[in-house]
Amino acid sequence: MRGPEAKTPITRLDPLLFGALAILLLLHLPNLPAWVGLFIVQALVWRAVHDRGQQAGSRLPRLPLPNKAFLGTLLILMSLFTYVQFSTVLGRDAGTSLFVITSALKVLETRTLREARILALLGFFLLLTHFLFSQEPLQVLLLLLPLALLLGALLGFGLGEDRSLTPRARLSLAGRLLLPTLPLMLALFVLFPRPPGPLWGVHTPEKRAVTGLSDHMEPGQISRLTLSGELAFRANFDGPPPPPAQRYWRGPVLWNYDGKRWTRMEDGIRPPPVEDTLGEPLHYTITLEPHGQNWLFALDIPVSVPRRSRLTRALELAYFMPLEDRLRYEVSSNPDYRLDTELSRHERRAATALPDGLPRLKALAATWRAQSTRNSQIIEQALQHFNREPFRYTLTPDTLPPEGGMDHFLFDTRNGFCEHYASAFVLLMRAAGLPARVVTGYLGGEYNPDGQYLIVRQSDAHAWAEVWLENEGWVRIDPTAAIAPNRIEMGLAGALEDPSLLSASDRREPGLIRWASLKLDAGYNAWNEWVLGYGPEQQQKFLETLGLREIKLFSLGLLTLLAAGLLIAGGLLLSRHWPARLPRDPVEADWQRIERRLAHQGLERQNGETVRQFTQRIARMHPHLRPALTRTTDLYLRLNYARTPGASTRLRFREAARALQRELRLKL
């Protein structure tokens, strides 16, 4: 039976199937080159016009489908174009482009039932290609529509020649049939063994514009970054979040200065420094947005190392590759610490190196050095200097000349952003003989009571200094605090003279918009935490809470299969006594709607009054309804009482019932 049935020709595609594919293909338009988009649109229009022309009474010209040779040639040409465009046929972009082209060609090619089934399978795979581009909740919500349409189309395949269900009835039936599968889906999602890495190395990072801290610092760089209201990361704490003064999120540590730009010092594979930590560490989970660099952020100072990353000598967390996808990691930090009481010769040299020039800066440092007996006094003098002199904290500092920029800043312009102050402070310390370095990262974060986590945005980007003191190790000094103390406690908006440059969410003005944006952000956070972030570690943790601490991937797989098998067996046993139910016969539903509408107008069927008597009574009262009423009643009675109502009676009843309802809606 399969063979001939599968080759059944179909003149037009199931509207549900066509709709699903049209949405799936069109949603790819922004992800693909324009010529692919143009081709998709043309293919879809061709098929739509063809299918429309097949309908009886259509005024559109009969448009034939293209022949296979033409489509084959197109496929070869398009594949070549794709290769020329991407220089590969692998990877996410080129692969999707090829797959989309193939699917669009298949839409044009489909002439048999079997091909239509293949088309539906392609549709499901198209969903996956969408997930590779975006997993945002809104996008996923949008994709639920083609998914529902595909399931409705699948249901149509199961019905064969039975055309009694309208596309809409198929959709709602598919929805009802889907409900009992959801528990199994969730169970599999939670329990299915998650291998920790990719199966093969196809994960080629795709180029995309990302914002975030880079591994160097120049004047103006961080202030530009802070203008973006974009999210940097979210941090969920096991307990209450730390106070604002401790919210220093450590990023790249910069040692080398060439007169304009601060850069990192490669530290090879030397082990992280020995540190003494005091007090209780904080445990928290960070969901980091992709920023194209390999930095992970953690509060000062991290005491644990997330998976696939390492701790550098300067206590930076480095991921094994540049971050192209959102990453969720757990980390612990200890705010009370004593770091690196021993400084190697190499490090001391790097931490005290000074560029040529900067005579005024060096002279100022020398006077402090001469006046101080202890190193900590030098630091104090510097901070007092920043506080006393008319320094301004601004997002729009004056541009500095390429030569001796820091001299100009300290003595002439005296306005700048955190990178200026951190840079000048570190140079002053070095000139006074103290080892010092710049630390970049984020300071602060907005607490979202919905979901209890901190939102850290690019506008929280910050730079501060670390000074090395004998017996104390590296000590964090934030010169910005001396100029704009509010920056630490109240965030950027509270510290700037003119916060209007900042985005709305960064100004932190109370109000409905802020409340709504916090709610929305909490939703995103939950989505990231429960859907996107569920991985091998979360699975392990979940299994441990179930008491399955020692379970192996293999036995987990067996367990999953066993559960699925039990479900089949149990369902089969039950199904004998549990026939399929449709809550309402569509004919009866239509009739009930008509009676309800009449009752609404005060026309109710009396006790003991037959359908025929009832409608005749109404027809006498409202003669204009008579034709529609009689026709509908005749068909309704025929469907209910005739020996063989005839195949088309259902459809004709439906049309008549709809027409009657329209008339009833108009007037009585």
Binding site: M1, L128, P180, L182, P198, H203, A580, R581
Partner: protein, 297 residues
């Protein structure tokens, strides 16, 4: 026909269809993609389809399990004509079974069974002369989603007579071959003979109310009233010029149909069987049935 409701049809275990295997393959591909890209939404999609796949197995079974069918004896037809097997489906209240394919003698048709009882008919393809027992009917369903196929066999348990096709050019024997042998019916006597479908104009007192009450439709009881005083033709097996058995039977059938058309009473004489002359639908049925059941030797 038994008055007890028929038992629900026994069903075969569900078997995955080609599409079902295709979806399984798709799930595997989605899983590979999901693992490779660490993409949780693809995991969800794969598991959604897998849940659908698993649940479809027993949902498919639900669609067929519990259906009760009952067949009516189909009306006799001439060889070469298609027949009609009337069936009655009994379904629980509120139960809906769409997309059930019924296959009888390699002819398929698709039905959606609504709640309650429902009459429908399957075409019976033309068969050779004789007594046939149509069936079994193969039922199968791929609802929902077309991933699993579940089947059932239904034995209608009814007989279907196929008369020989009326064929042959031999002239109707007009001579009353054996007038003295014709039995004379006693005047005024009518014999209950059977039922035939109701035709407008039949006397109400002759309607078979018992059958009507069972929902089988209207039938009229027919009574044989041997015509008197008319000359009767004897349609004799030996009078047919030699040919194959089927040719001879076809010729006899031709003559019976012709006699009926000419309103000419006739008797039928076969080896080991003789039907007294008569006229009318009941007589015709009796004669044609005799031809249909005829076995040589």
């Amino acid at each position: 026909m038994s008055t007890l409701p028929p038992a629900p049809l026994p069903t075969t275990p569900p078997r995955p269809t080609t599409m079902g295997l295709g979806v399984l393959g798709l799930i595997a591909l989605l899983l590979i993609g999901a693992i490779n890209y660490g993409n949780n939404l693809s995991f969800l999609l794969a598991f959604l389809l897998f849940g659908l796949w698993i649940n479809s197995a027993w949902q498919a079974r639900r669609n067929l399990a519990g259906l009760r069918l009952q067949a009516e004896a189909p009306q006799a037809v001439f060889a070469g004509e298609a027949g009609r097997l009337a069936l009655l489906s009994m379904n629980g209240p509120g139960v809906f079974r769409p997309g059930i394919v019924l296959e009888l003698d390699e002819v398929t048709s698709t039905h959606g069974f609504a709640a309650g009882t429902e009459n429908f008919a399957l075409p019976l393809p033309p068969r050779r002369r004789g007594l046939h027992t149509p069936g079994p009917i193969r039922l199968y369903s791929e609802h929902p989603f077309g991933l699993w196929r579940i089947g059932a066999l239904f034995h209608p348990g009814v007989e279907w007579l196929v008369y020989p096709a009326p064929r042959g050019q031999q002239p109707l024997p007009t001579q009353d071959a054996r007038p003295e042998g014709a039995r004379q019916a006693r005047p005024g006597e009518e014999e209950f003979d059977g039922v035939r479908p109701y035709v407008a104009g039949d006397a109400l007192s002759h309607i078979a109310w018992k059958q009507a009450g069972r929902g089988l439709g209207l039938f009229t009881k027919s009574f044989e009233n041997p015509r008197q005083g008319l000359e009767s033709n004897w349609l004799d097996w030996t009078a047919v010029q030699a040919g194959t058995v089927e040719d001879r039977l076809s010729q006899l059938a031709r003559w019976i149909v012709d006699c009926e058309r000419l309103n000419q009473p006739y008797g039928l004489r076969l080896p080991r069987l003789e039907i007294a002359p008569g006229l009318g639908p009941t007589h015709q049925t009796a004669c044609l049935s005799a031809l249909a059941r005829f076995k040589e030797g």
